[in-house]
Each structure stands twice: as structure tokens, then as C-alpha cells.
């Protein structure tokens, strides 16, 4: 039983057959927002492994003594992409950030989602925050930011690169990957909650080179 952050769930689903065939274990993922999964784990939810979207919640669980000690590891680093379905080239895309009136920009809620925090940091650095930030539409998580853009309600958005890669059929227009150096790292950490053989196997498998290569292909950086 794996509690997996919403943004990583489709990725895990894509990769799972490989793990299940290799190990003989079956995966039972429960996806959700990292904050909720945290609250549930504190209340004794029956999960074995927690694949969080950030580093903070696993650390807090560890400090509360709810994890198998020493198992907290970063399993992937997220990458941020600026995306507009309507743009034709990168310059036009970046130019839109300064357009008047300011465009509707979708981001994940900086307070809740590491992708949101990263997006805000980048916008602040680039000097766009004052103009765009207060009016930016905030998804509860990075998936919602994606919906906002995909449905045409927001003109551009800062979304997760893996989303674009995974669903490239549904993502017309142009995306520009924000260089990893321009925002704080989006560390996705995992902790073992119960010391089961299957869970250890999964965690181990996630960190193998083959898996990591697959993740890189989908738009993650390896830790």
C-alpha cells in the first residue's frame, strides 16, 4: 500500500507494471494531496510507503517518529515548465508574461504545493510577481493549474514538465522548461512507514538506475 502524491500518481501508474513483473508484488496506490496523506498517516492510515510531493512533510513525519528511521530519501526532482496552448514560439511565450493587461497565469498554490513555491520563486526572481502574482489563479495542486490552462480558462501556466510529457497529445502550443537553477529544487521525498518487504522493494526499485532513467525521460531530474 502506497500513499502517493497526486502529481506522481500517474507516473507511478505508468511505471508500475515494470515493478510488479520484476518483483512479483502488487501495487495498491492511494493518491492524494501530500497534506491530506500526512494527516491520515498521523491518524494511523494503513500505508506502507509514502511518496510525497515535497520534503517537508516526510521530515515532519520522521521527527514525530512515525517512519522507519533512516528511510527518508529524495526519489525525484521536479521540473517546472511555462506553457501556453496558444503560443507558437518560445519568445512569444515569454513575451506574454509582460503583456498588458496582464494575462491569466495559472500556478499551483505556493503555500501547498512545492511546484507552486518554485513557480512563485521564479516569478519573483524574474520580477513578474508584482504584476502577475496577486491575480494568478491558484490550483490546489499542480494538476489543477494544468486544468486551468488545458481548458483554456488561463492563457498560460507554470506546470510540471512531467505532466506535459506524459500527456503530450492533450497539450498543444509551446512549453518552455524553466531552468532548474532559477528556482529552489522541487525535492520529492519518500519515507517507509512500515517495514514490509514489498515496500522496501518498491523504494529500492524507484532508486534504481533504470527507473531513474525512465523518470528523466518523463521530465524529472534525478537527485
Amino acid at each position: 500500500r502506497v500513499a502517493v502524491a497526486g502529481n506522481f500518481a500517474p507516473v507511478l501508474e505508468r511505471l508500475a507494471p515494470g515493478f510488479e513483473q520484476g518483483s512479483g508484488h502488487t501495487l495498491r496506490p492511494s493518491s492524494g494531496s501530500t497534506g491530506r496523506l500526512y494527516a491520515q498517516i498521523v491518524q494511523g492510515a494503513p500505508f506502507d510507503l509514502f511518496l510525497a510531493a515535497d520534503a517537508a512533510r516526510p521530515a515532519q513525519l520522521e521527527s514525530r517518529g512515525l517512519v522507519v528511521p533512516g528511510t527518508r530519501t529524495t526519489y525525484a526532482l521536479g521540473r517546472l515548465a511555462l506553457w501556453s496552448p496558444a503560443a507558437d514560439d518560445v519568445d512569444a511565450l515569454l513575451a506574454r508574461l509582460q503583456a498588458q493587461p496582464p494575462p491569466r497565469l495559472a500556478i499551483a498554490n505556493p503555500r501547498l504545493a512545492p511546484y507552486g513555491a518554485a513557480a512563485r520563486a521564479w516569478l519573483v526572481n524574474e520580477g513578474h510577481w508584482a504584476a502577475l502574482g496577486p491575480g494568478a489563479v491558484r490550483g490546489e495542486n499542480i494538476a489543477q493549474a494544468f486544468h486551468f490552462v488545458a481548458s483554456g480558462n488561463a492563457e498560460l501556466g507554470l506546470v510540471a514538465l512531467p505532466q506535459l510529457r506524459l500527456f503530450h497529445e492533450q497539450t498543444p502550443g509551446i512549453a518552455w522548461t524553466v531552468p532548474a537553477t532559477l528556482h529552489p529544487p522541487i525535492e520529492q521525498q519518500a519515507v517507509l512507514l512500515r517495514d514490509s518487504e514489498a515496500a522496501r522493494a518498491l523504494l529500492g526499485w524507484l532508486l534504481t538506475d533504470t527507473t531513474q532513467a525512465q523518470l528523466r525521460a518523463l521530465g524529472y531530474d534525478s537527485p
Partner: protein
Amino acid sequence: MITAGDLEALRLTLMLAAASTAVLLLLGTPLAWWLARTQRRGKFVVEALVALPLVLPPTVLGFYLLLLLGAKGPLGGLLSSLGLRPLAFTFGGLVIGSVVYSLPFVVQPIQDAFVRVGPRPLEVAATLGAGPLDRFFTVALPLARPGLLTGAVLGFAHTLGEFGVVLMIGGNIPGETRVASIAIYDHVEALDYGGAHGLSLLLLGLSFTLLVAVYGLNRRVRVMRA
């Protein structure tokens, strides 16, 4: 513990609930009236359709509303071709979303109340020279008051707590579409349990006062006339 942003969210919530309840009553009452009075065969299909928004999770409903309202959606396309701003992420959009989701809670009790009024008082009013609209306002509505109250309370309270739809089409913009329910949710997600407790208590207290006032007043009115 309660920030200025929270209070702002609370203000917005009350405005949204008030606006939605008003729209709900304005739309729901005639619809309920029609459903209560019509003899048409197909009536129960409409009844089922009205109840249908209920069975979809609010977030999913919000998602579909988002698709509908978006630039590529039928409604959004229409609006932008008319040179209007899309409704998503605006207060107006929130009202639409809340109305769609709360409609069944408003229509059903009012419809029941209209049915129970029965034809006789309306017949009497007609023989006294009251036309259909007159009858509706001076006889049907007052006699259906308990149902209207129930509809209004359920609609109002539900909009206060309404969340998924608003989350989806509101975009959580502080001061514009960030309502109290989302603010509390944010606090929980951000593990700021203190903030969540505070705002929840405030919302509960406020609603409780409001509800007690409404029910108490309703009782008073009845007693005064008895």
C-alpha cells in the same frame, strides 16, 4: 491565529452565499412551482435531471464547468465571441457554480411544499379575482413558507461549505475568489491546524448564530400569528 486574509475570505463567503441563495430562490422557486403543478408525462425526467448534479463529486462538477466556461467550451466561446470576459475565476462564475450544485437542495423542498399546499387555496383565490401571478405570490408562496425556508437554509449553508466547485472554477484568488471553505482547506493542507481550527470555529459560530436567528424568527412569526 485568524489573519486578515481569513476575514477577507469570510466576507467573500458570506457575499457568495447570499448571492447564490438569492439566485437559487429566484430560479428554484419557479422551477419547483412548475414541477409541483405540471401534469406532463415527462415531469419525472426533469425531476431526475435537477437532482443529477448531486451525484457528481463537486470537484468533478467544477472540472466540467471549467471545460464549459473555458475559451474552448461552448459557453466560454460564446461569451468571448460577444467580447465578454470568461466567467471562470470571477465572482460571477462562483455564483454559477454554487447555483448548479445547490439547486436540488433548493428545488426539492420547495416543490414538496407547493404540492402540499394543494389546489384549493388557489381555486379560492381565482374565484376572488386573483390571476396566476397574483395567486402565486399571495397564496402559494406564503403557504409554502416552511419549504422555502428549508430550501433557503440548505442552499445558503451548502454554499457556505461549498468547496469543490469553487476550488475548480474559482482559482483561489485572494480577495476575489478565495472563500472561507478554501481558506480552511488551505490551512489544513498546509498543516496549519491552528489556523484551520480558528477559521472553522469562526465560520461555525457565525453560521450557528445565523441559523438560530432564522429558525427563531420563523418560530416567532408563527407564534405571533397564532
